[in-house]
C-alpha cells in the first residue's frame, strides 16, 4: 500500500571517511528524503563538515565540477554567513560538527535523480555545532548540473573519520 514516506535503504559506516548509499534511487519515486540521523565524529579536535556527492548509473561517485549550491550558515553565537558557488565538486556544507556528542542531524530532499533527462536538485536543512560546541545550522539548495541518471548518494568527511548512519526514504 502506498503511503507518504517509504523506507528504501539504510547504510551504516563505522570509523570511515566516507559512506555510499548505492542503488537507492529508482523509477519508483521522483522525490526522496535522506536522513543523516546518527553521526559521531572521531576527530581529536576541531570542527568538521560532512560533504555530499551523487553516484552515477555505473556506480561511480561523481566528483566533476557539476555541483552548484547556496548555503545559509546560521549560528546562534555570531552573524549568519552565505556560502554559494557554481561548478563545485560537491555540496560542501551538509552538516558541521565539533566535539563528540555534539553532532546533530540532516534532512535532505532529492528531486528527479532517476530521470536521465533532468538535473538532480536538492535542498537540505541541518542542525549541528560550530565553535565551542555552539549551535550552527545550514539551510541549503543545490543542483547537480548534468542530465543523467543518479542511482545513489555519497557522504564524506572534510577530514578524519566518522560513524555515520544514512536512511533513504521514497516520498509518495
Amino acid at each position: 500500500m502506498a503511503t507518504n514516506l517509504e523506507f528504501i535503504k539504510s547504510e551504516t559506516g563505522t570509523s570511515v571517511t566516507s559512506l555510499s548509499v548505492t542503488d537507492c534511487f529508482s523509477a519508483d519515486y521522483d522525490v526522496y528524503q535522506v536522513l543523516i540521523s546518527k553521526l559521531n565524529g572521531l576527530q581529536a579536535s576541531g570542527g568538521r563538515v560532512v560533504q555530499t556527492r551523487f553516484i552515477d548509473n555505473v556506480g561511480s561517485v561523481i566528483s566533476a565540477t557539476e555541483y552548484d549550491y547556496a548555503t545559509l550558515s546560521m549560528r546562534s553565537y555570531d552573524v549568519f554567513e552565505q556560502f554559494k558557488t557554481t561548478n563545485a565538486t560537491d555540496f560542501l556544507y551538509t552538516i558541521r560538527y565539533e566535539a563528540a556528542d555534539t553532532e546533530g542531524g540532516v534532512s535532505m530532499n532529492i528531486y528527479n535523480p532517476n530521470d536521465s533527462s533532468s538535473y538532480t536538485f536538492a535542498n537540505w536543512q541541518s542542525a549541528g555545532t560550530g565553535t565551542s560546541n555552539r549551535l550552527l545550522g545550514y539551510k541549503s539548495i543545490g543542483v547537480h548540473k548534468s542530465a543523467e541518471q543518479i542511482t545513489g548518494i555519497h557522504f564524506f568527511a572534510s577530514a578524519d573519520s566518522f560513524d555515520l548512519t544514512v536512511k533513504v526514504y521514497g516520498v509518495k
Binding site: F7, Y77, A127
Partner: protein, 216 residues
C-alpha cells in the same frame, strides 16, 4: 501455523526482515513479525499522537514520544493563535521527565517578511527554542510549521531541532516565514516535548501532530 512448518518451510526457516519476507504467513505470523518490526509495511512516517487546543490553555505536552523507538521525530503544528496579541510559540524538552526551564537553549533562525525585511534571530541563552513569529489575535491570523527533532532518545548526544514556519506577523500583518535550528546542548534523554508561549500567556488555538520516522 505449527512451529515445525514455520512460514510454510519445514526445517530451516527463512530469515525475515523489512523488505524481505519470504514464505506463507498466517495472521499470527504477521502479527508477530509486526511486533518484531520485521514485516514489510510501507508508511514510515508513523503518527505518535495528535493534540488540539481550542480554548485558553497554558501548554501542549507530548508525554509519550517513544524516544527509544525513533531517532528522528517530525512534529507539525498549525493554526497557532495566542490569547494575547504579539505572543509566539516556543518549545521545551523534558529530560527524563524533568522540564528544562533554564536559559540553556540556543537557536539561530532567519525571519523573512513579505515586505522584504530579513532578520537574524539568534541566541545562545534562552529558556526555550523559538518556533515562529509573533501572532496577533485578529481572525484568520495564525502561525504554522514543522519541526525535525534529532537524537532525543540518545543520552550521549545533544538534542537538535530544525524548523520551518509560516504565519502572519501581528503588528504589520506581513506574511512571514522563519526557518532555522535549535539545540539543547546537554547530553541527555528527552522523553517529553512541550509547546507553550514563553511570556507565560495562554494558547487560544493550536493543533499539532507528532510523528516518528521509522528506521531512523
Amino acid at each position: 501455523m505449527a512451529d515445525d512448518l514455520k512460514y510454510g518451510y519445514k526445517g530451516a526457516e527463512p530469515t525475515q526482515s523489512f523488505g524481505n519476507n519470504t514464505g506463507v504467513f498466517d495472521p499470527n505470523d504477521i502479527n508477530n513479525l509486526i511486533a518484531d518490526n520485521k514485516w514489510t509495511q510501507y508508511g514510515q512516517l508513523e503518527l505518535i499522537e495528535t493534540k488540539s487546543i481550542t480554548s485558553s490553555t497554558a501548554s501542549m505536552i507530548f508525554s509519550d514520544i517513544q524516544e527509544s523507538t525513533y531517532n528522528v521525530h517530525f512534529l507539525t503544528y498549525n493554526n497557532f493563535q495566542p490569547v494575547t496579541s504579539a505572543d509566539r510559540l516556543g518549545l521545551r524538552f523534558f529530560e527524563n521527565g524533568v522540564e528544562e526551564t533554564a536559559s540553556v537553549y540556543q537557536y539561530a533562525n532567519q525571519s523573512n517578511k513579505a515586505s522584504g525585511a530579513v532578520a537574524e534571530v539568534r541566541t545562545t541563552a534562552d529558556n526555550h527554542i523559538r518556533l515562529g513569529i509573533n501572532v496577533g489575535t485578529t481572525t484568520g491570523n495564525s502561525d504554522s510549521g514543522y519541526i525535525y527533532c534529532y537524537n532525543l532518545g540518545d543520552s550521549s548526544k545533544y538534542s537538535f531541532t530544525t524548523i520551518h514556519t509560516t504565519g502572519i506577523y501581528y503588528s504589520s500583518s506581513d506574511f512571514t516565514m522563519e526557518f532555522g535550528s535549535g539545540v539543547l546542548p546537554q547530553a541527555s534523554t528527552i522523553n517529553q516535548i512541550k509547546l507553550f508561549i514563553p511570556t507565560g500567556n495562554n494558547i487560544a488555538n493550536l493543533q499539532a501532530s507528532l510523528y516518528g520516522i521509522r528506521y531512523s
